[in-house]
């Protein structure tokens, strides 16, 4: 649902005429173009591959590309659609898969020399299989950070992902290649994974939309684990509508992942289309704006200004915005990092013993810290996690609050050299608390900083309120066009 009313801050809604005359940049536009005959899936896939040919050397998006199978699948999609066999809005749409998820076409590396190539022999991860069954064109495997926890590492034979808004800056991680691939138009969407922010952080830094679903909504089997009780698989797209479209295909239980839960009965895209569960869009929502001091203190002035403007848009759309202090916010944030280190150490211990030097230095030292956390420490971290989650739910219930809002990060994409210390401090991340609670959280573009780099707005909801979260994000995107702004390096 989009709100036709133009609003303040000099941001105009998208121009539907312009959208109709240029190549599609959203899944929704692509699906329409493929069906109205203005573009075939084969045309679109060729255009994406050509963009990859041109941009990958600079942006480091891909670890593996499946050009031949992608073109074959796209041609088949055109034939199927011509024959009236329509698999839905992802049919014929080029997507990328973060290279810690298994795919039929090729090996999974986790961007590491350590992972046994046979690890991916089991075929598609369930979530990949679901996208494939919906007709998606799998273009290839996108870059990450080693095992989704390392750093850009020039000592290893892997690309360094770079930001299409400024290649001297980071993409964020760890779903780096999916983030810069969507932002630069090499793909129209893709899969990321998020253990402490790895979908939402690159979404914010690249100026796209990234959704971390409710924990358990999407099966994560077939994904190299990082922190098993904090890992989430999520869609990365240009718009919230597109994220809902992908999530509709991705969500639902799978016997291979015992943490999965039943999905809500309504299709997420339908919830978004009708303006949320209430049908009124932003109107009548009660949104809690986080005012925890550690969060406020960690934001750059430009981030604070953009967030104020975003809150203004939500309020202009009819939301009732109130200030909230999230209980145990610091514990929820730091607990995700501590517990994931312990969980990662449990998975990596034998490889660390056998192949220490094959890990990148940042990766091995980060994971090895899990050996410094005792069993009693981890139990207490998890006990506090349960208490804190319950307290946050009480806050929402007692205040009648539908959603929480904060900047996704305190600063925009940081440069590879000369980053400000406060911009790369742990406190600049506002994502990990919601991995601890497992609540759904989306990051959408909310403006740019003084250097013209994208900034992210994060909206968080109750468990399984993914439809509400995405419909509110869509309501915001109906009032702004930050999500439609393209970086200098784009298809």
């Amino acid at each position: 649902m989009t709100d036709p009313a133009a609003t303040s801050e000099g941001v105009a809604p998208s121009d539907s005429t312009a959208a109709a005359t240029r190549p599609p940049v959203t899944i929704a536009e692509a699906a329409a173009a493929i069906r109205d005959g203005s573009m075939t899936s084969l045309d679109l896939t060729r255009a994406c591959l050509a963009a990859a040919d041109r941009l990958d050397e600079t942006l480091g998006t891909w670890l593996a590309r499946f050009d031949e199978s992608a073109l074959t699948r796209a041609a088949r999609a055109d034939e199927e659609l011509a024959a009236g066999h329509d698999l839905g809005p992802l049919h014929g749409v080029p997507l990328g898969i973060k290279d810690i998820l298994r795919t039929d076409e090729g090996p999974t590396t986790a961007q590491s020399l350590v992972l046994d190539p046979s690890w991916g022999d089991g075929g598609d991860a369930p979530v990949v299989a679901r996208l494939r069954a919906a007709g998606a064109v799998i273009v290839g495997k996108t870059t990450t950070m080693e095992f989704a926890i390392g750093r850009p590492d020039t000592s290893k034979p892997f690309p360094v992902p770079r930001n299409p808004w400024d290649p001297e800056r980071w993409t964020g991680g760890s779903s780096s290649g999916t983030g810069n691939g969507v932002a630069s138009g090499q793909i129209l969407g893709g899969l990321g994974t998020d253990t402490a922010g790895s979908v939402r952080l690159p979404a914010a830094f690249n100026g796209i939309t990234g959704h971390k679903p409710t924990f358990g909504l999407v099966p994560k089997s077939g994904c190299v684990p990082l922190g098993l009780s904090y890992d989430h698989v999520g869609p990365m797209t240009r718009s919230a509508t597109d994220a809902a479209t992908m999530l509709d295909v991705m969500a639902g239980p799978d016997a291979s992942d015992r943490t999965t839960v039943p999905r809500p009965p309504a299709r997420f895209a339908d919830v978004v289309e009708r303006g949320g569960p209430s049908g009124r869009g932003l109107d009548g929502l009660r949104i809690g704006r986080l005012v925890n001091p550690e969060l406020l203190d960690s934001c750059a002035p430009a981030t604070t200004a953009a967030f104020d403007a975003a809150i203004g848009q939500l309020a202009d759309g009819g939301a009732d915005v109130v200030e909230v202090l999230v209980p145990h916010y610091r514990e929820l944030s730091t607990g995700a990092f501590l517990a994931l280190q312990a969980e990662a150490f449990a998975w990596h211990r034998q490889h660390l013993i056998d192949r220490w030097d094959d890990y990148g230095r940042p990766t091995r030292l980060t994971i090895a810290q899990g050996a410094l956390i005792s069993a009693g420490d981890l139990v207490q971290i998890e006990r506090v996690r349960h208490v804190a989650r319950a307290r946050v739910l009480e806050l929402l219930d007692d205040g009648g609050i539908d959603l929480l809002a904060s900047p996704t990060t305190g600063w925009a994409a940081t440069p590879f050299t000369g980053a400000r210390p406060e911009a790369i401090a742990i406190t600049a991340l506002h994502t990990p608390a919601w991995n601890s609670t497992g609540f759904p959280a989306v990051s959408v573009p909310m403006g740019v900083d003084d250097d013209g780099l994208p900034l992210g707005l994060q909206l968080v909801g109750r468990p399984l309120a993914d439809g509400l979260v995405l419909s509110a994000a869509d309501g915001y995107q109906g009032r702004t066009d930050w999500h439609r702004q393209l970086p200098p390096l784009h298809r």
């Binding site: 750093r151 050996a371 207490q380």
Partner: protein
């Protein structure tokens, strides 16, 4: 590693090697940035790593010892929270079938 596999990232200007401890930025924050390591921390870290079967080089033990006080401070915050009597870390169900 697929079509790419050329290690081209290594030929471009890459992340530098400075910066404070923290997981947000692109820099390798596991490089040592401070002065000496407290002997107690180094001994504790070396013992824990050894017990876990790990045998990192000395400079990396030093770096982990650098990080150890901050890690412990973070962990101790959790022990200061009253989590009550009924909150378990994990729920085990004997009847679970999958």
């Amino acid at each position: 590693m697929g079509d790419r596999g050329d290690g081209s990232g290594a030929t471009r200007r890459g992340p530098d090697d400075a910066g404070p401890v923290g997981p947000v930025g692109p820099v390798d924050q596991t490089r040592s940035t401070g002065p000496g390591v407290a002997a107690d921390d180094r001994a504790a870290v070396a013992a824990l790593l050894s017990a876990a079967g790990l045998d990192p080089p000395a400079d990396e033990i030093d770096r982990l010892a650098d990080l150890h006080p901050g890690l412990r401070r973070s962990v101790e915050r959790f022990h200061a929270v009253d989590a009550g009597d009924g909150s378990t870390a994990a729920i085990f169900r004997a009847g679970e079938v999958s």
